[in-house]
């Protein structure tokens, strides 16, 4: 194979390879230094095995549990890191940039970007779509004394998320159910 042919092949395949390399699961740093400074920290790591186990212990007769069970179907993981501090600006944006940079990779799309002067909260919501189906969700929320990273991996049914309104305080996102991606639909 000539050098020219090889270069052409790499140039043609590179975008596909980079797309294939992007995983909906983010690499979240340990934030060990921040955890020590934080007055409260929440670290949740739920892999498929844990999600399966949790689903078995959700009561189908309870509306909240039943809705939760429905949302968990198809999910591969839920990862949450949240740190609360006693004073403002105890963390720097650089701490979060390690995660934010991953969301600029191909495959991730920023769904919502909000900057609130009232609450001084910045919230970015990213989604990864594959064949018209959401396969990854990432939320980065930074407030003066708290920052939170949420990463949900798997077949996220926006319709089911929409139905969680009123449970856990999930707000009405005004997601149009007819346009929401349904699993298996192209």
């Amino acid at each position: 194979m000539s050098k020219y042919t090889l270069t052409l092949l790499i140039a043609l395949l590179a975008p596909g390879l980079s797309w294939a390399a992007t995983s909906p699961k983010l690499t979240i740093p340990s934030f060990a230094g921040l955890a020590q400074k934080a007055s409260e920290s929440v670290t949740i790591t739920l892999d498929p095995a844990m999600l399966g186990m949790a689903a078995r212990f959700l009561d189908s007769n309870d509306p909240q549990d039943a809705a939760t069970k429905d949302v968990l179907k198809g999910l591969q993981g839920i990862y949450v890191r949240s740190y609360t501090f006693d004073r403002d600006s105890a963390y720097s944006q650089a701490d979060i940039d390690a995660v934010r940079n991953q969301l600029s990779a191909p495959g991730w799309n920023r769904l919502v970007e909000t900057r609130s002067r009232k609450s001084h909260a910045d919230v970015d919501i990213y989604i990864m779509v594959d064949h018209d189906q959401a396969v990854g969700l990432a939320i980065i929320a930074s407030e003066p004394r708290q920052f939170t990273i949420v990463n949900i991996v798997g077949a996220i049914d926006l319709d089911k998320l929409h139905k969680l309104e009123g449970q856990f305080g999930v707000p009405k996102l005004d997601i149009d159910s007819s346009k929401a991606a349904k699993p298996g639909q192209k």
Binding site: F57, V80, V123, I125, G169, L173
Partner: protein, 121 residues
């Protein structure tokens, strides 16, 4: 005088053969005493048979009990893990919803401001 004492001592200390029935009496008494004495406890085959059965039965029962306890403890552990996983899932969704709500409130307030601007307020 000394001869008299000596002869009397010899006469008193002379060996006398036992009576015929002496040995029979002695033997009979020996047999009686032996029969009356309690027999020493030994590991005879007759004793071993019921002991072996009880030993086997108790070992089997202990094994069954140990397996049962282990399974019970394992089930308890699994249940605790499952309930803990459930709590974690609910907590994760609660945090997610709080942050979604933040975004929602921000979008809502922006929409309200835009509407106010459009209506000339």
């Amino acid at each position: 005088m000394s001869n008299d004492i000596e002869s009397r001592m010899r006469a008193a200390l002379r060996p006398v053969a036992p009576r015929e029935e002496f040995s029979q009496t002695l033997l009979a008494r020996t047999l009686i005493e032996t029969a009356a004495r309690p027999k020493p406890r030994g590991f005879t085959a007759a004793r071993l048979r019921p002991m072996a059965w009880w030993l086997t039965a108790s070992l089997a029962a202990s094994l069954v009990l140990a397996v049962g306890v282990h399974q019970h403890l394992e089930q308890q552990r699994l249940q605790q893990s499952g309930l803990e996983a459930r709590r974690e899932v609910l907590k994760a969704l609660r945090v997610t919803s709080q942050k979604l709500n933040l975004a929602y409130e921000a979008v809502k307030s922006q929409s309200t401001s835009l509407d106010d601007e459009k209506s000339g307020v």
